[in-house]
Subunit: 214 residues, 2 copies
């Protein structure tokens, strides 16, 4: 699903200027993140994005001076979208197990492709960059994954502290299992388009949390 | 780990011919599969492979007429190596749960990078091709993944039939969980080089199988 719908170009110059004016940096980057969730960051050239947006390459160069700058800005935009669509809504749930479950449910909706066309933006770009040597783009991806893991670990620890999960729960191990069971659905869905994979992930995680319940 | 060690080129022409003679198609393809496990199949050009092998491009063209032919032959070679190193040894274990556990252990050794430098060849190339349109290369990758899943499903069903796993075990769900818990280690190991991920996968799968035990 696109996060904003581009107003189609019109023949009127005045309308054209209005349309171009509406294409803010944030909107360009939402399109870029959506495109990269499907095709990866390496395919995200200024030319490819210009075609997608119906803008001139020079117009985009005014926003982003290089491909790497565009890639880094796109990762930043995806991070903001993720924070807004996944993390913020889950914060409304009660601390402890309810918030952990809300985070998992929101992440699965996101992986199912309700936010980006390609499902999980970060899973796509992680697969693209994880075998490469460290560099600004790879480092930014790794930092975002680390941040998500730290957030999830805090939610698990908080569910243990609140007495919702057993005191002897191995939080790191539980985090590994939740992330593994959820990532497999998003990864295999890319190839098979089999939506029952997400039901399998949900059932597996629910059973795992039930086993850890205090 | 390389599956065979290339004899380094020598200055003697006679030795050189012997070395070249020893580079059979199978040996070329083992190198290709190892290279692709790290860099993917798209980076596997005839020029790149010629450099790796210290062979001439024309020498390789005699074996493989096109990049796609080379990619398909490499997938076939990886499949044979996987069958020899993972599937065949596990067949020696007793039918039922012992064989299922042997398959899982052999697959984890393979994912840990004991067979290919890049860990799981098929995980690398699946990530590379899963968002692309169907074609001979993508189809070959998907067929190999389907074949592995079918083999694992037979092993699970056989463990249920043998009375080693509970009769009410959902074989498809168990397969999903085992594959998810094992794939996450190989995928995240690519980025973090954290070897404890494989211990997490092993512990998670062992707990899952213990819960399903009859």
């Amino acid at each position: 699903m696109l996060l904003f719908l581009l107003v189609p170009p019109t023949t009127s110059d005045l309308d054209g200027r209005r349309v171009r004016g509406a294409r803010t940096r944030a909107q360009i980057l939402e399109t870029a993140a959506n495109l990269a969730s499907v095709e990866g960051l390496e395919g995200l050239t200024i030319g490819r994005l210009a075609t997608e947006l119906g803008m001139s390459k020079s117009g985009l160069f005014a926003h982003f001076g290089s491909k790497e700058e565009l890639q880094l800005a796109t990762i930043g935009a995806a991070r903001e979208i993720f924070a807004r669509e996944v993390v913020a809504p889950a914060r409304e749930a009660e601390r402890g197990l309810p918030r952990l479950e809300a985070l998992i449910a929101a992440k699965l909706r996101y992986e199912r492709g309700e936010i980006f066309d390609g499902g999980c933006f970060f899973e796509t770009v992680r697969g693209e960059f994880d075998s490469r040597r460290p560099g600004p783009v790879r480092d930014a991806i790794e930092a975002d994954l680390d941040e998500w893991n730290a957030l999830m670990l805090r939610a698990i620890t908080s569910a243990i502290t609140a007495g919702h999960l057993r005191a002897d729960t191995d939080a790191e191990q539980l985090l590994y299992e939740i992330e593994a069971l959820s990532a497999a659905a998003t990864l295999r869905h890319q190839m098979s388009r089999d939506a029952t994979l997400f039901a399998r992930a949900e059932a597996a995680i629910a059973a795992r949390l039930a086993a850890a319940r205090a």
